[in-house]
Amino acid sequence: MPARINLSTPLSPESAARLRAGDFVHLSGTVYTARDAAHKLMTEMLARGEPPPFELEGQVVYYAGPAPAPPGMVIGSVGPTTSGRMDAYSPELIRRGLRYMIGKGLRNAEVTAAIVSGGGVYFAAIGGAAALMSQRVTACEVVAFPELGTEAVRRLTVRDLPLVVAVDSRGGDYYRRPN
């Protein structure tokens, strides 16, 4: 098994700068879920000059829409969704202070450039490992857009979320590693 680096939120810019594409990490702390519909609404709010539904500065956004929580559970299965669909929105959110993203799959050149200029990191989770990820969530609260159902923004408290550094703060991209 590859060695894991333990990280806790809030992630300091220094610890983020030390991460390299391909590093395996365990992330603990607070992350916010947001996917297509929430990104669209957040971007529209920012364009109207309204404050975002949560403070973006230094935060971690997890591209995920969980399955409903069965009785007695904090959350249902909650794996990553394909990040590329958020590429249209991410550079603006990064300009507003968002630093870390969790998802799966490729990011475009504009997002990678924004990650580098913001000193952020894009983490990949294993697509489809959603039941396993749900067991690493200890608290879940809807904080914005409840009308969106699974696409609402949720604040999750996570313990040892298994992730891989996909794009590091220097632009190294694990998905586009040389053969």
Partner: protein
């Protein structure tokens, strides 16, 4: 299995059409039976890994040499264990419910409307199984229907008096990476191979590899697409019944696994678990090739009523 209730008409209906001269012997299947089968299969398919997929993942894990690829495949298998133990869906994207109804021509569906029966089954399965509701009513307006209906239903009229119901919930991480290529006949087999391998290569890490690749070759544009979807129902490890296409599938799988996409897109020998091709007659001017990419969970359940 749903109990089979066979209701054979002992005698012809009281008012048979006088001009036919045929004895009408239709087997009745109720909408309730269809609904129940769909509902149960939605939950089973989403929460229990199919035995063929599990076997293929274990084989892949044992054949990988990279530490990272082994770790990803072991995580995917561990995820299936947790899903089974905790009654959770394997993936949060519990998909759009794709339902194949192969209706025997000697079957009469009674007790309601078949579309409503399938949708009622989907709604119940997705509610009772705590599955995610991922369907929007209108592609532009995008309001969630809240019960994961309507299902996508593919009807086929076939000989016999049975109704084969297949439920294949399809996630969109992989659906979005699928494509239809309208090739020229001159491009032949080489063009088919290029279209399939190229589509998988372009998909890269996005569709949750190792993927299963359904391919429809021939027909018309929509026929090829439906065949590609149906090809995903074939169990992994079961060879194509046609030796020529079995050979093509092996070649495609070998080429795809040289792409080094690997499990989760982190590199390795296993970019795909299987390629399944369904060919069809086509037009003198055309060579449609549909490539339906499906993730490593590729959910499929079939029952014969």
């Amino acid at each position: 299995m749903v109990t089979k209730r066979r209701k054979k008409n002992a005698s012809p209906p009281s008012n048979p059409p006088a001009h036919t001269g045929f004895r009408i012997s239709m087997r009745e299947i109720t909408c309730d039976e269809i609904s129940r089968a769909v509902s149960e299969m939605c939950v089973e398919a989403n929460c229990l890994i199919a035995p063929d997929i599990r076997a293929a993942l274990e084989k892949a894990r044992d054949s990988e040499s990279s530490v990272v690829a082994v770790e990803v495949l072991a995580t995917i298998l561990k995820n299936a264990e947790i899903a089974e133990e905790k009654h959770l869906p394997l993936c949060q994207d519990t998909g759009m419910a794709v339902v194949f109804l192969d209706v025997g021509q000697d079957v009469r569906i009674v007790g309601g409307n078949v579309r409503e029966a399938v949708d009622a089954g989907v709604a119940r399965g997705y509610k009772e199984g705590y599955l995610r509701k991922s369907v929007v009513a209108d592609p532009v307006d995008r309001r969630n229907t809240q019960d994961n209906t309507p299902a996508i239903i593919h009807y086929e009229l076939v000989p016999g008096n049975r109704l084969t119901v297949s439920v294949a919930p399809k996630g969109f991480g992989s659906e979005n990476m699928s494509a239809v290529h309208m090739l020229k006949p001159s491009q032949g087999l080489e063009g088919i191979v290029e279209a399939v391998v190229g589509t998988v290569a372009r998909a890269g890490p996005n569709p949750c590899p190792p993927v299963i690749v359904g391919v429809g070759v021939g027909g018309t544009m929509e026929r090829a697409a439906v065949l590609a979807k149906r090809a995903l129902l074939r169990p992994v490890g079961e060879p194509n019944p046609d030796p020529f296409w079995a050979g093509v599938e092996n070649d495609l799988l070998a080429r795809i696994n040289r792409l080094d996409i690997g499990p989760a897109g982190f590199g390795g020998r296993t970019s795909a678990l299987a390629v399944s091709v369904l060919p069809s007659a086509t037009h003198i001017a055309g060579l449609p090739v549909a490539v339906n990419i499906s993730c490593h969970v590729t959910r499929h359940r079939t029952r014969i009523l």
